[in-house]
């Protein structure tokens, strides 16, 4: 059964060498524990020996120059990275105490409880309502009343309800870029994930929309654990509790955001945040 699952395109090249069952105790307050994660695109190693302990109900920012592996890393957390056919990984990522690379782990289950917001707003070419209802419907919720409630709750949660409540059945492509991105966040909220991964969610947005998304991130951390990749150091400083600095595929430093930005312990971190490169 599972063998066929593995054979599906995109997953079939993933060689997850689980050498021995790691006995690392999952701490109760951890969303993710990453142990010795390595990742290759073909021959090129993109992540080198990454170790991170990401806490629940916190905003964890991931920063670093272009090509440092930060985007690859966040896509590994819900195994979206495996859509690239040549990807290989080893090491482990514990989510709720279970290694997500385990053979029996269904990516669909993982992605149901780990939502993702992408760099470019990517609503479906459907109505606002159908966009938000897509996730619940996919997972078998068909009741109209329940869906209505989920849609409203999610749109409110993403602070966009007031702007779209009168045009729920219009095509989502009519919204502005910033509204589209918040709609995508609402779409993610609709399946009530534990963790929300955000891959440079404001890189395509104007400053005002960016601000709205940042405020939203602050509100969301009450209920969700958020991991956000950002190119913008001010953004990391504004929104996050913890920050990880990636360089050439390695985690250089991972600490409380204030510490990283005021008193980094690694010279390279200091050079980066003071704008000497990147």
């Amino acid at each position: 059964m599972m063998k066929q699952e593995e054979l599906k395109k995109g997953d079939h090249n993933v060689n997850t060498t689980t050498t021995e069952p790691m006995t690392t105790e999952m701490k109760k307050d951890s969303a993710y524990v990453v142990n010795n994660l390595n990742l290759w695109y073909g021959e090129d190693q993109a992540l080198i020996d990454v170790n991170l302990d990401i806490k629940k109900n916190e905003v964890t920012a991931i920063i670093g120059p272009s090509g440092c592996g930060k985007s690859t890393f966040i896509k590994t957390l819900n195994r979206m990275v495996e859509l690239v056919p040549t990807v290989r990984t080893n090491g482990e990522i514990l989510y709720h105490g279970r290694n997500i690379f385990d053979r029996g782990y269904k990516v669909e289950d993982l992605r149901t409880s780990v939502g993702m917001v992408f760099q470019q707003p990517n609503p479906f070419p459907k109505s606002v309502y159908d966009n938000v209802a897509y996730g619940p419907r996919t997972h078998g919720i068909k009741n109209k009343k329940v869906l209505d409630e989920i849609v409203e709750r999610s749109l409110r949660g993403a602070a966009i309800w007031d702007e779209v409540k009168d045009r729920l059945h219009e095509n989502a492509y009519g919204l502005s870029g910033g509204q589209q991105q918040r709609l995508c966040i609402a779409r993610t909220l609709a399946i009530e994930p534990d963790v929300i991964l955000m891959d440079e969610p404001t890189s395509a947005l104007d400053p005002i929309s960016t601000l709205k998304v940042e405020e939203l991130v602050q509100e969301l951390k009450e209920k969700y654990s958020i991991i956000i990749v950002t190119h913008n150091m001010q953004q990391a400083a504004r929104v996050s509790d913890k920050t990880a600095f990636f360089l050439n595929g390695e985690v250089v430093e991972f600490d409380v955001t204030d510490k990283i930005f005021s008193n980094p312990s690694d010279k390279r971190t200091e050079d980066y945040i003071s704008g000497r490169f990147g």
Partner: protein
């Protein structure tokens, strides 16, 4: 829905649903790829089917007629008391049609392609390309009617020795039919030549003509060759125009003014005539069909190979 149920968290609902309906989703995800794969296999099976049916009946034909006669002789009298099956008589008919057609299609097709890709403004292109598309969409039966009832009478008034059924008229019309094909494939190839290369030459003071002939055409050569080869393959396989306007007299003689019979027209003639299953004529259409299939397949394979290589270059 009662209040209690609505209080359920979505997360839990999804979990419950998963337990219930996972099997169903799973079935789709397991079965569909396989069904889709099967539909992709249909085309492969079609090719095998063609090769197999042609091969099988061809074998029966060769039990009755020696290969040496089929491929070595030039007389084709399948229905006479002393039947002859020298396929070259039919091949000659097809060859005449193809040569005449290409003589029409290559100059006009390439000229159209060059004009569209190098000279025409965007607006002109938007008006002109649909004309070619319409021409490409005209059914062959219509072209056949046109050849017999319009082109042949005109040609007859110009060339006194022309027979009513001849190779010239259908040849020209097959050529007209192929113009859009050569024009559009060549134009695609020429338009794919990067702007930089064109601008480089124009910047040195070359005229558009010089750029087209000396820069763009050589760069797009493989695409142009592919278009011509595909056009030839179409001409060889074209059936209705030659059946209607070409006649039914197989002749190993190169004279476009006389009636001919092509390979395709012969197949139609026998199929129409209700040749009984198991007769020698019945099997002969498969032999001719097999030859036709091999000719066109080789040309298509060649053309596709050329285009594939050319795509890699940019």
């Amino acid at each position: 829905m009662n209040e209690q149920k609505r209080e359920l968290s979505i997360r839990e609902m999804i979990q419950q649903n998963k337990q219930k309906k996972y099997s169903q989703t799973n079935v789709f995800d397991k079965v569909m790829p396989f069904l889709l794969f099967l539909s992709a296999l249909v085309s492969v099976i079609t090719t095998i089917g063609i090769a197999f049916t042609l091969g099988f009946e061809l074998f029966k034909f060769f039990e009755r007629v020696p290969v040496s006669e089929f491929l070595g002789k030039t007389e084709w009298y399948p229905m006479s008391a002393d039947p002859r099956f020298g396929v070259w008589a039919l091949v000659m008919g097809t060859l005449q049609i193809t040569l005449i057609a290409m003589a029409v299609a290559i100059p006009f097709g390439l000229a159209s392609a060059i004009y569209l890709s190098e000279y025409a403004t965007e607006r002109a292109r938007r008006i002109l390309k649909p004309i070619l598309e319409v021409l490409a969409g005209v059914p062959t039966i219509v072209f056949g009617f046109f050849a017999l009832s319009f082109v042949t009478p005109i040609l007859k008034s110009l060339i006194p020795g022309l027979q009513i059924y001849n190779a010239l008229s259908p040849g020209i019309v097959v050529g007209i039919m192929i113009i859009p094909m050569i024009a559009s494939i060549s134009e695609d190839a020429m338009s794919a030549v990067p702007r930089k290369i064109r601008e480089g030459a124009l910047g040195l003071g070359a005229t558009r003509l010089e750029v087209a002939v000396k820069v763009v055409m050589p760069a797009a050569l493989s695409g142009i060759i592919a278009s011509i080869v595909l056009g030839m393959s179409r001409a060889i396989g074209e059936t209705m125009i030659v059946t209607i306007a070409g006649g039914s007299q197989p002749n190993f003689e190169f004279n476009p003014l006389n009636a001919i019979q092509t390979m395709t027209a012969y197949i139609v003639q026998i199929a129409k005539g209700d040749a009984g299953y198991g007769t020698i004529e019945y099997y002969s259409i498969y032999a001719v069909g097999a030859l036709l299939f091999v000719f066109t397949l080789l040309m298509n394979v060649f053309a596709n190979w050329v285009t594939r290589r050319f795509r890699e270059e940019y």
